[in-house]
Symmetry: C2
Subunit: 223 residues, 2 copies
DNA sequence: TCATTGTAGTTTGTATACAATGTGCAAAAC
DNA sequence: GTTTTGCACATTGTATACAAACTACAATGA
């Protein structure tokens, strides 16, 4: 049953993970032939997978030249996070208004699992998933599917940079504390403070990433 | 030179137009074979075109069952337009801050062409293009490419409903007047008023569409 | 020397052919 | 009569094969 519906979907899911995991430098060409033999499929499902990833902004197609992983400039990263603030506070505001106990419980459960995973050795691998799952649980009650889809899209795009940041800095605990704070404010129905915290939560993550990126570029310039 | 780079792109562009033009009811299955013979290509480029349209939200894929045109509920349309207000006012705010004379001229030119086209017989066919071109011209100076991409995506999704509304009501002139007002406020650098006008401009379009949709559903229920 | 053109090789794009899955109807079982 | 099973057909998904486009490098000419 672990078998995927279609090969194209399988390739898309796996390749997404590889890109987000940092296996490819930004701007790397993804040769269809190589990927096809990697996954032991023909180039057709590979092409379809690449098209899917293009729509997610992880890859760019140039006609007759192929697919390349995208690279975000610092300006674009800032833009992405600014959009996240705009959309996520908007959604949180709505969600808090119609938050049920069951919704809170769900978010709490995710946070708890996540705490345990952290204690028993810092598995960074699926941190992003946990992170988004928690945020999503908080936003879901808003019942704004189109908005959630865009938020998810923005998170995917910024994901690999978040991972990179976590690799260099130890901000997981801080994020974790902020998540607990967020949950508590949501429980109390304090919309304004919750949105304010969410805003700084996202903003500081952005600044962290930018700092790491700029350090790295000055480093490579020195070499 | 009107020849497209790839067949897949050509099919995607043409099919998008057909869907937005209202040729298919919401929920219609798009048979790959039929489309392939329509365009005199194989099913491969058709599939790729459908994947592209899926990423734009015009079509939905169900594995092994095919692609269907999407249908938006009233709630989703409202959500879409609310997102547009949020993102477009945000972008307009930024754009006005760094608006040059050249930018204003561009927007003005579009508006002018558009006026002429209106006078010489109400060609509704490419009204949407003009409309978006004008909005885009206003937002472009903000230099927020990711945001503009999402705005464009939201506009595409709501496009066919806008066309439907225009078909039933005669709101083009009203929209036109509001566009002139928007341009004038932008020229004066009056951010607050411009955003306020933009907000009502989008809001009223939404209400118009919802009204038409609800009228149509009560009509079909009577039959 | 530098720019231009031509050509071989590589890679992408698409057509054709086949495999896998889903759908609908008819016959059988209850 | 209703439900279930099985099979034929239709449609999608994928492999293979071929055509078209791009790249890089060498040869030619100014």
């Amino acid at each position: 049953m672990a078998t995927y519906k279609t090969r194209a979907q399988f390739v898309a899911d796996d390749l997404r993970g590889r890109i987000l995991g940092g296996e490819f430098q930004g701007g790397t060409q993804l040769r269809q032939d190589a990927l096809a033999s990697d996954y032991d499929v023909s180039r057709i499902p590979v092409r379809e997978a690449l098209l899917t990833l293009e729509s997610e902004g992880l890859v760019e197609f140039h006609p007759h030249r192929g697919a390349f992983t995208t690279e975000l400039s610092v300006a674009r990263i800032r833009e992405l996070f600014e959009l996240r603030i705009l959309l996520e506070t908007h959604t949180l505001r709505r969600a808090i208004d119609c938050l049920t106990d069951a919704d809170l419980k769900k978010a709490e459960d995710i946070l708890e699992k996540y705490d345990k995973a952290l204690d028993s050795g810092g598995e960074i691998g699926n941190w992003s998933e946990y992170n988004f799952a928690f945020h999503h649980a908080l936003y879901a009650p808003s019942e704004l599917p189109e908005t959630l889809a865009i938020i998810s899209q923005l998170n995917t795009k910024s994901d690999r940079y978040i991972r990179m940041q976590l690799l260099y800095t130890q901000e997981i605990e801080k994020a974790e504390r902020e998540h607990h704070g967020l949950l508590e404010l949501a429980r109390r129905g304090d919309v304004e403070q919750a949105c304010e915290l969410l805003k700084t939560h996202i903003q500081e993550a952005c600044e962290g990433i930018v700092a790491v990126l700029e350090e790295r570029t000055t480093l490579t310039e020195q070499c």
